[in-house]
Point group: D2
Chain length 353, copies 4
């Protein structure tokens, strides 16, 4: 779908700016009967929360979510579910400078070119704050998928700047460190790296992987509704995403067919270079996606830019910014996986024989 | 949008199987007045044609396109434009074997899991033959974008198996070789590599890049209708695609913010790591996308697979297959770029202030 | 949905002009496995065929439908089904006059205002010829609904100009006369009326009713996806439609609540003023819809109009035109009922608990 | 579009139940720059407010609307605009009876059949309270259409039970009486009629007309995106609507073509039986629509019904209910007209030549 609505049968429409009174979403198409509580949603939100460690932005939001509609006696009723979270830590400060400047690498310039007007406070609509509602909506999808099919979704940090962490050493360790790093031995290195980075004033990119287990075969659709196409769109729609891979991804470029094709025996597939998707349709294997996030552009280190009069200015960004937005991306990537799978399960139910 | 329809305002619905009587598409939303001829469409089709060189499948289709509707006195009328191409070289042969087997790495298995029935002849709907109509529809979008904004779209082979060809040495050479290789000195090496590969019976992946110049700023939309999200979906919907990058893509993971952010002066942006898109909206810079294609799975080299009874069988694929589908992907990638930009231009016109 | 596509889950996209080489449609979302033959589709088409009697247009089309795709071994495969019918009786004649004139009551003027270009031959896209594909697509929906739920859909002529025929005296007689009149005693009067009308050169409106039996309860959705809202849209999208009623329709304006509300007992509803829909959702009662069709505007009796230069001209329409388009509307109304119900069954399957 | 979202380019998604904490909507696609204030929205809401007179429900809501997002410095920014209104007069009372009963003529039964769960308090999602957000969203569309094209939309009560009021005697009087009656001499009769009706405990239907002036020619689209089809859907989606007419509507059934067709001279159209729409596209004439509303089913007069165990019960509905919902329908009908026109203006801008 498009614009501020995601999904066709499980539709999530998000709204809200970083420094507005609240952010929220409307979930239309949730199967009736699903039991859900604000607390369950909040638990997911806390995983992405800013201020989780010294390595992320220090903005601290309560993220108390209110279920405004579509919910009765603790269960979804089938009517639209609106979720609302107040913005409580949107600091009021002087925005005079940012108001007139376009930060390089940021959406300031393009929003202004598109709309001719922008809510410049804290990035407005283009702020990472928006991803909060993806995680909130994803919590419902995730729970339903788990109850209905036993789908389990787990993301992890696969690379932080130059440090590769993609080999999963210990699944259980992922939730135990602020990086969602699956390799306990790497955590001190990541901390050291981040401390030095923060000191330098610079930022760095990251890669986040996600796996979905127990995905039923048959999800997806030819030709433009392919499961992998929708996953690519979903991941690329996250702030700062610059690349998406399914299964072997770019590594498949230098693979040979005899290596890439996943052979089948009665015991199942022998490998999973496909990432669980063939011809745009899930095969029953684990669905595996990798997403690249660029380094934050909002830095206190000065750079050359323009103001709204077209004059050249030196840009220095103050405020609270993550030196690596990818650190907090894991729950968001998981949420997008859940939303895509949920939507495709409902679509598949509609059009089965 | 979804399923077999692509786009929201410039909607392309494709239909047809590899070995059915014809393939076709319906283009709904083409601005009235556009001059177009079957010959112009055919010229684009010839660029992707099978049988273009010895390195691609030897299926030879005339690809004579008929404009069935929405076209009067040589111009689009604003009503739906149906295009139709007969399948003339769909060899009738014995499909008894393939009928009962699932080729690893192919959509055979997943179509069967999804639908419980499949047109197994030549891959049916999942055949690369479907991409013909993407190129046909793309021809209209491309022409309109060029006339209206001077948009120029050019793709090229960036990597063939282990051979990197991404550095563009000579733009004019791209159309002069069967690989769309922008590096004339590499062409003999590519030929040598492909000859050896074909002899071996194996296949290999490829990476194809595409650039769009003169794209107006302001295309795209937050949050789920981002231009890069739609490009990712478009490219990933092409057969065999496994990864998509915008601008610096996965390289941005190890970049620092001071390197990645594209500074601006009065002369314009100093670099283009963003690939022409910021916050999901075009900046006016060149839009740059890279797509990974996996190696073909249809090989004459045997492998282990299952049949429809769940029995293990040795699979050997006969027939005419490209040892590297990526070689012919360049016009398809260009077409998808054109379709996405076209759709977003129309969307932007709708919602401007 | 919109434009030339109808439906969300069972999507029908039609294309083609009255005097182009062919008309056709693409059906996306048909459940795989449905057995269907071109002959079955043709049988439905013959019910709406022009030239069925002396009371309708004398254009005679073979309406041999070709199933181009999505169909294998006599069954739907789940991929898009394209249907194609050649225009064989589109008489080539001099269109110089109509080319420059806007026929009052016709879409000539508005197409020209919208698109600035029009295929004036035989009404182009706005010709009733387009409804052929609605009936063709409806044939599939109708068959599936009958097999799956036993849904039976029957339309009838309820009024022809001043002659009311809405009371169904004999269901079996409907198919036995060229008017779809359910009141055998009225048929001679209708014939007499039509003969006089044709002689006079004038035209007249009609009202067509349709009933769907065995519709499962639960179809439809709040708030903008109501079953009655979609039926209203479907019927109003038919050429010449000017009004739609569900159940008691406009008669409910002067009803009192005690009369209108349909009481329930263990044996079921006692009345059906609701027309089978409550709160936008089917109740399990018969779904009943009535549609008003205006009189044809294409008359040989002259009237005042404008040409494309804005000059006043006397307009006389030659050619073969129905003096009452409503006579042939019954199969079209049935088809739209089938398409709406089909779409809603699939939507309901997606979003059940 | 569908479900709880209305429109394609100007999309309104509403949420909220009658007795939940709040109702709201998200407007996606509003052109940036539109000046709007909560007070302007509230003024429209007051026109539909319950408790406007003794003839409507006595529920009294403040309807203070909060603009949560997409709004900066008093203007729309192009990002989604969320509106929120708290439910302040949702009386907490004993719902034990209604909880177990299906009120005839009401959505109780169908929601339960569809979802298996329902928020029975005050009708939940099927309450007329939902229409508040249509009026709120309509206020933005209305203002933009007026500023951009001078479009003026006016509705009026055309019939109240047996009393016809469709002849407009005095446009200025419409806003001056609680019925939106355009015929000052009829107002005392309406009051008398309503007083007697209220006393009797029964209810009655109504017909509401609406006219839109200065609608530009060219809005609408063939074949399923016709302006009249979308208007029919929009009106039929309002609670209690049972019929929709465009222009002459059902009267066109007994008209002859020479009467119905609207002749044109240099001075313009001589009549407007078409209701401003030809071939699904606006002609530049006034767009005229008439909608039938059924009598309220919620009565204190007992009737026969079922409970959730399938047992027969006598149903008596207490609480505050309008004896004629049509009385308050005028602003809602106007809002739907505005939403449809707005959406089609944006769609037309996208696809012009």
């Amino acid at each position: 779908m498009s614009f501020n609505t995601f999904g066709l049968m499980f539709r999530v429409t998000t709204f809200g700016e970083s420094h507005g009174p609240a952010i929220g979403c409307v979930i239309d198409g949730c199967p009736p009967g699903l039991e859900i509580s604000p607390q369950e949603i909040k638990e997911e939100l806390e995983r992405r929360a800013t201020g989780r460690s010294r390595h992320t932005s220090q903005r601290r939001e309560q993220d108390d979510v209110q279920i405004v509609s579509g919910w009765f006696d603790g269960r979804a009723t089938g009517t639209p579910i609106a979720l609302l979270i107040e913005n409580t830590d949107a600091r009021s400060r002087d925005y005079e400078q940012i108001k007139r400047q376009f930060r390089p690498g940021h959406a300031d310039y393009t929003y202004w070119k598109k709309y001719g007007i922008r809510d410049y406070r804290g990035g407005g609509r283009s702020s990472a704050r928006e991803t909060t509602m993806r995680v909130a909506a994803g919590a419902l999808a995730r729970k339903w998928l788990r109850l209905e099919f036993g789908v389990e979704i787990q993301g992890w940090l696969a690379q932080l700047g130059p440090l590769r962490t993609d080999e999963v050493m210990d699944w259980d360790s992922i939730e135990g460190n602020p990086f969602f790093c699956p390799h306990p031995g790497m955590v001190p290195k990541l901390e050291e790296f981040m401390d030095a980075l923060r000191k330098s004033g610079d930022s760095v990119g990251a890669r986040v992987n996600v796996i979905a287990r127990n995905v039923p075969a048959g999800l997806g659709a030819p030709v433009y509704g392919k499961l992998d196409a929708d996953l690519a769109s979903a991941m690329m729609s996250i702030n700062a995403a610059k690349g998406v891979e399914i299964g072997a991804g770019f590594a498949s470029v230098s693979q040979q067919g005899t290596e890439h094709r996943d052979e089948m025996t009665k015991e199942g597939f022998l490998t999973n270079h496909a990432g669980g998707i063939l011809g745009g349709i899930s095969s029953g294997q684990d669905v595996v996606v990798s997403t690249a996030f660029k380094p934050t552009s909002s830095l206190r280190l000065p750079c050359r830019g323009l103001d709204i009069d077209g004059e050249e200015v030196e840009i220095v960004t103050k405020g609270r910014h993550d030196p690596c937005v990818g650190i907090r991306a894991t729950p968001i990537v998981e949420a997008m996986m859940a939303l895509v799978l949920m939507d495709h399960v409902l679509r598949h139910r509609a059009q089965s024989g």
